[in-house]
Symmetry: C2
Subunit: 132 residues, 2 copies
DNA sequence: GCAGAATTTTAGAATAAATCTAAATTATTT
DNA sequence: AAATAATTTAGATTTATTCTAAAATTCTGC
């Protein structure tokens, strides 16, 4: 493992958020001011290929990276607001049903967050930051 | 509902595949040769907002659109190859656990498809068509 | 420690998906 | 029919990501 890989892995592991490449980039620049965005992509992709991090792809949002420990996501269908949840672990049942080649799974539960239930459709585009 | 909306909804409903915007575009052009890509985006987004179709976001792939009936996806972690599967319906359990505001959920199960189990990493980029 | 091989980084161009803008067109309402 | 609203179009723009080729770094065997 290279130094950058270790550093990025540690950033992702110690963050409770779900970081985008941009966010990882900003954090890395604090320590390595000359670092370049493509390097973050390279490293993150290698970590992902190695199975050390999880990629979270939510509709209409840039990919986010997450620790690979078993947990699920609650996502607002309108603004994309993302929260961790812990539903039952389905791994065993899925392996039994589909075979041992199952690696892992993503369970994304969609709802309307309290804010979006009020300020009704037509929705604001995803780009506007989901309200905190 | 406009004519285009109806047409596109019907295309998505009657396709067993998971269509990308491009694929929908091609099919629409057969019937409406002058139609423009942005119109497909407009219509599909409206259908999605209305909850009539499902958007399937898989890591590293363009979004695909799917009928909203309950079913899950088996995805090759390496090449992105996508198959429908039917695992247990978790809706009731999720509503019970998280509240009635749960709308629906996505369950994506990752594995390595037979081809990718052989031709090992480093992976071909997602761009190359996942093998049929 | 050094030559050669392999990997990683960099800078910047290129690509691809999706959105936006503003004008033109079409539909709907009154 | 006039006024209002919604949709389409064309094309530019944005954003995320990948690619390319050269430079820098790291690794390996001797």
């Amino acid at each position: 493992m290279t130094r950058y890989e270790q550093e990025i892995l540690s950033i992702i592991r110690h963050s409770s958020e779900h970081l985008t490449i941009e966010q990882i980039f900003h954090r890395m620049k604090e320590k390595y001011p000359g670092i370049v965005l493509a390097t973050i992509y390279n490293n993150v992709n290698r970590l992902w290929e190695a199975g050390l991090i999880r990629r979270v792809s939510i509709e209409g949002q840039p990919d986010r990276y997450d620790r690979p420990h078993r947990h699920d996501h609650l996502v607002c269908r309108r603004c994309g607001w993302l929260t961790d949840i812990a539903f039952d672990d389905l791994s065993a049942a899925l392996r039994e049903r589909l075979g041992e080649e199952v690696l892992y799974y993503d369970l994304n539960v969609f709802y309307l967050c309290p804010d979006c239930r009020q300020n009704d459709f037509p929705r604001t585009p995803y780009k506007e930051e989901p309200h905190e």
